[in-house]
């Protein structure tokens, strides 16, 4: 009988497969978890080089997409089964939580060793994202808890061909807010769309709002807002929100940006269907892949005030942390030091086309990418602040800006709503103490 055979075959198959998976244990082997699916081959190659150089085998294990990775790391933390090295995705409070639960080793000693030889190699702010200083609002002991593998920042891009078509000077991108709106008006006359960006992913909205806020009110007032001493109904914050309303009213945005995912926005800009884009430094390679002849330039987000300096969002692209519970902590830190040394960083940067975290590894950059690098010192990031906004407040703000962009809310209404959420969160926090 034919159908009798099937379980039998299955059984053999099963046994064969199960037999093949006896675990090879190696006590000196370093295991590293990551989510960077596009760098798998490169990391594997580096692992091989490290083993040849030091005799220590390194195993990179990839889990993607990043949401799945982040679940896995959280789950492994619950069972104390994290690998020797891993990356923490998410915001600084997540990193703080991992540290406070004893999962992340403090590598300050290594980083500052020999008068900070290692520290000096790296871009300052991306490294700072992994550090906690005295009196930080997270309650984390002072220290360095991770190393950036690469860096990035987010700026505006403009299409030079479309500028020419609209009679704009392709070498003089708009600098002020007024210039920006005027340029958009001219583009619109020619039927050319304005700004495109993946604002369906709300963090990009948060990013632009933060640029505006820093430019209008500066760091101290933003900090005071985080502490609850300045309200979101303050005229400066309303002003930030009004800028979004203005973009909507002036038609300065491409169709559908409110719900667009960023990969779609990248297609649109690469195909010359919108004049401006707001995107991270990785976009240079994305655009190059989709349309190598795209003629475009980088510009800072338009200046909306002269009171405070212009800033951009940026910092580390990805970070690696050492597992505090690993028996191979020193070896793991040594490996990370090797990984961020010049030679490896050059290889990593050229292979994966990301910006290296090692300043000395910046070689042969395309001119546009070089412009991004030059602005690394302008970067700000919520992770660089001593304390963070309540996540629910940020969510209400960014989602609310979407509502402004579709004309459902006014800036004043939103400011009041955001403040109401903030008040509730503060109240909850007080009740806990």
């Amino acid at each position: 009988m034919t159908h009798r055979k099937k379980p039998w075959i299955l059984g053999v198959y099963l046994a064969a497969l199960l037999a093949g998976c006896a675990q090879k244990q190696n006590s000196s082997q370093l295991t590293i978890w990551h989510w960077m699916s596009d760098r798998e081959d490169t990391l594997q190659e580096l692992a091989g080089r490290y083993e040849t150089a030091t005799g220590i085998p390194v195993r990179f294990e990839l889990f993607a997409p990043s949401e799945a990775y982040s679940q896995k790391v959280k789950a492994a933390a619950q069972t104390n089964t994290l690998p020797d090295v891993f990356g923490v995705l998410g915001e600084k409070r997540d990193l703080a939580s991992f540290i406070l639960s004893g999962h992340v080793a403090n590598i300050a000693e290594e980083i500052n060793d020999q008068e900070g030889a290692w520290r000096k190699l790296l871009f300052e702010k991306p490294l700072l994202m992994n550090e906690f200083d005295a009196g930080n609002g997270y309650g984390v002991p002072v220290g360095t808890y991770g190393v950036p593998l690469d860096v990035m920042n987010i700026q505006f891009l403009y299409n030079k061909d479309l500028f020419r078509q609209a009679g704009l000077d392709p070498n003089k991108p708009p600098v002020t807010w007024r210039d920006f709106l005027a340029a958009n008006a001219k583009l619109k006359e020619k039927g050319i769309q304005g700004l495109v960006s993946g604002w369906g992913e709300i963090w990009l909205i948060e990013c632009l709002a933060s640029n505006f806020a820093w430019n209008i009110m500066g760091q101290d007032k933003i900090l005071a807002t985080l502490k609850g001493k300045v309200l979101y109904t303050d005229s400066d914050w309303v002003r930030v929100l009004k800028l979004f309303q203005e973009m909507r009213d002036q038609g300065a945005l491409a169709e559908g940006v409110v719900t667009m995912i960023n990969k779609r926005a990248e297609q649109i800009f690469a195909n010359g269907q919108a004049a401006f884009a707001m995107n991270g430094s990785w976009c240079v390679n994305v655009y190059h892949g989709m349309n190598p002849s795209l003629d475009y330039g980088v510009m800072l987000p338009p200046r909306v005030s002269n009171t405070y300096p212009q800033v951009i969002w940026g910092g580390a692209g990805s970070n690696f942390m050492v597992n505090a519970k690993s028996v191979r902590k020193e070896q793991a830190a040594a490996f990370l030091k090797w990984l961020t040394a010049k030679e490896q960083q050059v290889y990593l940067a050229t292979q994966t086309r990301n910006l290296p975290s090692n300043r000395e590894a910046l070689v042969d950059l395309p001119p546009i990418l070089a412009e991004f690098v030059n602005d690394m010192d302008r970067t700000v990031h919520p992770s660089l602040m001593p304390l963070a906004e309540f996540p629910l407040v940020t969510e209400a703000m960014t989602k609310g800006i979407q509502s402004i962009l579709i004309g459902e809310k006014t800036p004043e209404e939103l400011a009041a709503q955001v403040q109401a959420v903030k008040d509730r969160e503060l109240e909850k926090q007080m009740a806990q103490r």
């Binding site: 949401e67 982040s70 679940q71 959280k74 933390a77 998410g90 409070r93 997540d94 939580s97 991992f98 406070l100 639960s101 004893g102 769309q193 604002w199 369906g200 992913e201 709300i202 491409a254 169709e255 559908g256 940006v257 409110v258 719900t259 667009m260 995912i261 779609r264 269907q273 996540p391 629910l392 969510e395 989602k399 609310g400 979407q402 509502s403 962009l405 579709i406 459902e408 809310k409 509730r424 806990q432």
Partner: protein, 295 residues
């Protein structure tokens, strides 16, 4: 008496493997979700704070966004229950009747469920695009310029547009079940009805519908469960926006869990959602029973 006891005992053996699986892999996560719903926890920390029913209380009292998301899912579900299932039934009837090329159609109609969400997201965001979209292109071609818009970001059309994608992707499931149901009706019944002089419509009304009621109920319940839990299409097209116009319960649970790191709160949302679904399903089964007993 002894025989009957042994008999009942034997009957349990039929469900024993399923119970063993359930007891091993479902009860503990179930229990854990219930337990966590009473805590404030970020999903990482080794300490958590007991808050009792506060999470539930907050959802009922303050969380209007959550209830908006439930309503959005209900709206999509109502559309799916009608349009998607009618489409599936019509196609299943057509294929049941041996139309020309029926065996080819049977394969083609199951293609949308097979397609990856990435392809579906790419294609539909291109169809719906405001400036370069196919839909607007066609509307202009037939002179309906007034209707063109950016379908996924216009608050008036965003949710319906997402619902259309979902229904297109989902009708294949219903089609396959309904076709199997139709094929399970003994042909003799049709022949007998024909001999009695019934026309096509009467055959459908007197034979097909009564025989199919259990399958209809099955498909209806599966549609409700499948559609209420919609989320991947939304994440790859609108991300829940604009504003909260396309938020649904699962996207809310996910962003509560990872976006704002309120793990316990997300569990509470999950439980409320689960109970809602269970109630709806039981209600549907009850309707099914009344229907079956009626004729």
């Amino acid at each position: 008496m002894k025989v009957r006891l042994k008999d009942t005992f034997e009957n349990y053996f039929f469900i024993l493997p399923a119970i063993v699986m359930f007891a091993t892999f479902s009860i503990y996560p179930f229990f854990k979700v219930f337990q966590l719903s009473a805590y404030e926890w970020d999903g990482i920390s080794s300490t958590m704070r007991f808050v009792g029913l506060a999470n539930f209380w907050d959802i009922f009292r303050h969380n209007t966004v959550w209830w908006t998301s439930v309503w959005n899912a209900v709206y999509v579900t109502l559309l799916a229950l009608t349009f998607q299932n009618i489409l599936a039934l019509l196609l299943a009837l057509a294929c049941d009747r041996k139309i020309r090329g029926g065996h080819v159609y049977r394969v083609i109609f199951y293609l949308p469920p097979v397609l990856s969400g990435i392809v579906v997201g790419l294609i539909w965001s291109w169809i719906y695009d405001g400036n370069y979209g196919l839909l607007n292109h066609w509307l202009k071609a037939i002179g309906l310029d007034g209707l063109t818009r950016s379908w996924l970001s216009d608050p008036k059309t965003a949710l319906t547009s997402v619902a259309v994608i979902h229904m297109w992707k989902g009708f294949g499931w219903g089609f396959v079940i309904l076709l199997a149901g139709l094929q399970n009706i003994p042909r003799e019944l049709y022949e007998a009805a024909r001999v009695d002089g019934a026309n096509a419509w009467q055959v459908f009304k007197e034979v097909t519908i009564p025989m199919m009621i259990p399958v209809f109920i099955l498909v209806a319940i599966l549609t409700v469960l499948g559609t209420m839990q919609i989320f991947d299409i939304i994440i790859s097209t609108t991300g829940g926006g604009p504003g909260y116009h396309t938020e649904v319960p699962v996207t809310r649970i996910l962003s509560t869990m990872t976006g704002t790191s309120q793990f316990g709160y997300a569990c509470a949302e999950g439980i409320i959602f689960g109970i809602l679904l269970l109630l709806v399903s039981l209600f549907q089964m009850r309707i099914g029973k009344t229907f079956r007993q009626a004729p």
